[in-house]
Subunit: 255 residues, 2 copies
């Protein structure tokens, strides 16, 4: 049995609490947040605290708080030589105060409070300074059904950066698709199966192999037509830059 | 029973042939391609031709050929007053020769020969000049399990343009994610569940609601760090432009 104390009550903390609570090998010792309001509904299932002085012994302390809060919160923890980890893709392991045994438990997935999460689809990237700590974090991840990955800080930084491209930027392209269709009386809904299929394709084929369309074919007539129909200069800029990007990748001429 | 003749032997034609062959309400009368090699293996199941003079009566003729070939091929067809449709997102209905009853049967999906296609995930956008023809095309689409959408040429043009954003451009962002991770010894595979989840989220929530990340939060520190770690100037340009795009959408300041 691994005992865990969760600190924070946001997207990540809430999903971790939920999955740990229903995992036999894990016991949630305490759940801390600076403001207790949003989690007080769970007070019959777990000890809820908003006072760091009330913190008890646990095997792991997970700081699932805003990136900027990791440093000060870890320093304020009245503990010594305990395993304390954060869940961030971009915060250094060394931002955790050095009085602790330090580690990272970074779930590569997009969490929001409303959407359900299946932890078998959440690869967890683990870093730890001590090998025993690494083993414990790995066991914790496996107990909730997550695949694990041992990484170093450089790889984590790079994965987080790549995640911005495949998640935030991709979602913005969906948004632009939404804007373009709805502004012209077409329906964004018709594009949803295509969005799923585009994501599904790269589960089995490389994005290089999966590419199709006017930019890859260097179909100048269609590219010109598209640029003409785009009303927003900003959308035109994105169209040009990503068309150029595809043509670089596939060895076509520049626009 | 709807009799269909397919013209072309590429990605779209091959998947249409496959699904029509196994649909009870549809009979594939003939399958034409200018070069017969690639489809000759089907000669025991269907009449294969490479000579337009051998073309017979059918309820619908589907031109699933390259965009540029629609005009001349339709003019070369030795038929009159027959229902002839193309499958393109960007070609005008009026590119089909006016001796035919003209229509469009545009599947909004990404087809490649290797990947399996489930036609219930292929919305088919239908245009026709005559109401009877529209009904027949709709019946054909429904018979293979596809959702249908009545659209006009303007809406089709816009859907095709939006499809470039959510499919080709998105796939290029996956490609950049691939480049960034592999060049730094991290694994692209770890990002695959995130890619699926990003696509899944917008099936239920709007892309506006689904957005997260440093650009939306206007987290300048992380944005600066990311720009610094990107080695390629080209990737930096894309990062900047899409970050700015998210900030426009979510009412943040420009970079
Ligand atoms: N969301 C994701 O998709 C995702 C994915 C992977 C990793 N992460 C990482 O996981 C961590 C948490 O992200 P999240 O999305 O769960 O954040 P969130 O929903 O914004 O929640 C942030 C939490 O941090 C607390 N907090 C903020 N400032 C604090 C401070 N100075 N002292 C103490 N607590 C403070 C907040 O408390 P209040 O409730 O009182 O405001 C809240 O409970 C971040 O490091 C993030 O980078 C997030
Ligand atoms: N692929 C997709 O994801 C997709 C999605 C929706 C709509 N579409 C549309 O569907 C149509 C077909 O696309 P595709 O991807 O199936 O194309 P494709 O795989 O490139 O196949 C093109 C076909 O057109 C034939 N062709 C080319 N030029 C010709 C000419 N001058 N005369 C007669 N036949 C000619 C080719 O014959 P050979 O075999 O002899 O070269 C080949 O059979 C296009 O209008 C495209 O815009 C495609």
């Amino acid at each position: 049995m691994i005992s865990v104390t969760i600190l924070g009550a946001g997207n990540v903390a809430s999903h971790l609490y939920k999955v740990f609570s229903k995992t036999e090998q894990v016991f949630v010792k305490q759940w801390y947040n600076r403001s207790i309001g949003s989690i007080s509904t769970h007070k019959n299932e777990v000890e809820i605290i908003d006072d760091l002085l009330k913190i008890k012994e646990a095997d792991v302390y997970i700081l699932a708080v805003s990136d900027d809060a990791v440093k000060t919160l870890s320093a304020s923890l009245p503990l010594e030589n305990k395993l304390v980890v954060h869940t961030s893709g971009s915060v250094s392991l060394y931002d955790i105060d050095k009085k602790h045994r330090r580690g990272v438990f970074y779930p590569i997935q997009t969490f929001s409070k409303t959407a359900e999460i299946d932890f078998s689809n959440v690869p967890i990237c683990i870093e730890a300074l001590k090998s025993n700590d690494y083993q414990l974090l790995k066991k914790l991840a496996i107990s909730i059904g997550s695949p694990t990955k041992k990484i170093n800080s450089d790889q984590r930084r790079v994965l987080h950066l790549a995640a911005v491209f495949v998640n935030n930027f991709t979602n913005q392209l969906y948004r632009i698709g939404h804007e373009i269709t709805e502004s012209e009386g077409a329906e964004f809904d018709v594009l949803k199966p295509l969005i799923m299929e585009t994501a599904k394709k790269v589960q089995d084929f490389s994005p290089y192999m999966a590419q199709t369309g006017p930019a890859k074919r260097n179909d100048k007539k269609t590219i010109r037509k598209h640029l003409k129909s785009l009303e927003s200069e900003h959308h035109k800029d994105i169209y040009k830059l990503l068309t150029e990007s595809i043509q670089r990748t596939h060895g076509r001429k520049k626009l």
